[in-house]
């Protein structure tokens, strides 16, 4: 053949003279604002922190004195712990473009399994506690199996299992609250997450350091559990292959499959993990209220999704972060606490929460925009 390649060959002759060298558009102008912008652009997870800070500043004026007290910050932290843990579970699911409407009820069910098995049925806590964790894991696993094997929308699946787990909860708990005193007697370990530590005394007593600024600041093990859960999941999402697969599965599931990711396995793992984390939240919940209240947790779904979305994670999957969720939960906690302290009428507190949520996300978006 002689007429094959003439046309493009003619064009490509130009290539022979080409000089190598990487294109470089690097930009020299780096003033303060520019550097700030670049920082935000490079670490977009820092943006929600700024919003949180703004919120804190506002409330330190709206509820002077009380709001800024170290003790109050301890409270806020304790108040958001459970939603933050559920938010971590929810983040995993939402990153895969799913949604889990059953996190709240899984948490309650797991707390009932832990508490009731130990207190009412007298099973040793060494067995009851893992059993509760297993219950959470099993619920999540069921969600994952249905989502992947029947190829149903996660919304429907978890709406269905929400009813199902809720019924199981009523059935197993008989709607009976377990009191703190009974729990303390039969299974004090389950209350451990509620134990309070005073960092000030800790440093003063064990290390002889007088860290005055820590005075009044109390912490409980539940908050530490939350931080550990968040750190582990952060690590998994950002530093392991599984994490990449989670993002890819949510970003464009078809592309992920074509690229050779077993999206089904990834999803099952995600839902199971989410269920397990809910069971950990159950443990923290028991610590927080000292016992088990089988009617709690009904708004936990919406609250956890709210924390996730305020934290900047997209409901369409593939984009978001654990840190965002923690800060999202904190932002809502700060708003609610600050408003409660402000003495505003309940009705106008609700109004203000609505406005503040919208404003917070607006500021977040606005900073993102100017930083890009």
């Amino acid at each position: 053949m002689s007429d094959n390649a003439t046309g493009s060959a003619a064009a490509e002759r130009g290539l022979s003279q080409e000089q190598g060298g990487v294109a470089s558009f690097e930009d020299p102008d780096r003033g303060l604002i520019r550097r700030m912008q670049e920082f935000l652009h490079r670490y977009p997870t820092s943006i929600p922190f700024i919003v949180l800070l703004i919120g804190i500043v506002i409330f330190s004026f709206a509820a002077p004195g009380k709001f800024l007290a170290p003790f109050n910050f301890s409270l806020i932290l304790q108040q958001v712990t459970i939603i933050a843990i559920l938010g971590v579970a929810q983040t995993l699911v939402i990153l895969t473009a799913g949604i889990d409407l059953s996190v709240g009820v899984i948490m309650i069910l797991a707390s009932v399994v832990m508490g009731r098995t130990a207190v009412v049925y007298g099973v040793p806590v060494e067995i009851a506690f893992p059993l509760g964790l297993l219950a959470g894991l099993a619920c999540g696993f069921l969600n994952g199996i249905i989502v992947t094997k029947l190829r149903l929308p996660p919304f429907i699946v978890t709406l269905g299992t929400w009813s199902i787990f809720g019924a199981l909860n009523v059935w197993y708990s008989k709607s009976e609250t377990i009191r703190q005193a009974d729990m303390q007697e039969a299974a004090p370990f389950l209350q451990w997450t509620g134990t309070i530590i005073k960092p000030y005394s800790f440093f003063a007593d064990t290390l002889g350091l007088d860290l005055g600024f820590l005075k009044g600041w109390v912490l409980n093990y539940g908050s530490i559990v939350m931080l550990i859960v968040a750190a582990v999941i952060w690590y998994v999402l950002n530093k392991t292959a599984f994490g990449r697969h989670v993002y890819a599965s949510g970003d464009d599931p078809d592309a992920a499959r074509l690229a050779g990711i077993n999206t089904d396995r990834t999803l099952i793992a995600v839902y199971s993990l989410a269920g397990f984390i809910c069971a950990i939240a159950a443990w923290v919940l028991i610590g927080r209220i000292g016992g088990v209240s089988p009617q709690a947790g009904q708004t936990a779904n919406l609250d956890s999704i709210t924390a996730v979305v305020i934290g900047g994670t997209s409901l369409f999957g593939g984009r978001g972060s654990i840190v965002g969720t923690l800060v999202g939960a904190l932002i809502v906690g700060v708003f609610r606490n600050g408003l409660a302290l402000s003495g505003l009428e309940l009705l106008w507190q609700d109004f203000a929460v609505g406005v503040l949520i919208i404003v917070a996300v607006t500021i977040d978006q606005w900073i993102r925009k100017i930083s890009s």
Partner: protein, 264 residues
Amino acid sequence: MSADTPSVEPALKARALNKRYGRVVALDNADFDLMPNEILAVIGDNGAGKSTLIKALTGAVTPDHGEIWLNGQPVAFRSPIEARNLGIETVYQNLALSPALSIADNMFLGREKRREDFFGRLFRTLDKSHMQKVARQKLTELGLLTIQNINQPVETLSGGQRQGVAVARAAAFGSRVVIMDEPTAALGVKESRKVLETILRLKERGLPIVLISHNMPHVFEVADRIHIHRLGKRVAVINPKRHTMSDAVAIMTGAMAPPADEAA
């Protein structure tokens, strides 16, 4: 600089367009001139900034700096709608089709035809059969004969068929300027030929056309002038009659200095 002092007013002109994304500079003081009733080819390496240039010209992206004139009037499009309302029709590289909508719906998206009768006037009923007929006809003109069902969702089309739909749309509705970003990339030999014929036909209708393409034979076949883009800016505008393809590629890749008289 010859391109800066044309005897006639350019149909579409831009000066010193800049666009950066974080630390990536996509447009770096880019200039642009499209003369009336010419076919202007825009060539350049992958990532040179051609698509960004087009998007800046049509309001799909807001440039950080820079000015744009349409037929001598300064314009600042805030959205592609404004550009389209002024008659600028664009085939974007990512095609801008709604995957779940049918071929016919996509062709007429944003300029649906209402029925002419009572219903159409009172209830704004769409004239679906008319739109389907026209859509089918436009695709046939482009030689896309393997499309079996005009109500097929676009997402079920093959890569080339999808591109055909986007090209057919622009060709059918462009009234002032038609811009095509790699319109033949996914097309077969026959279909590409038809697109080139379409471009020539548009020119006959008096329209100026911008054609972005990596296919040098196509470019040299139809272009009146060739805008060479490199590292975010226009480095030269050459006359295809006076330069070879290999010159163009050499300028594009930086192997050759732009010709002095035609440097931008």
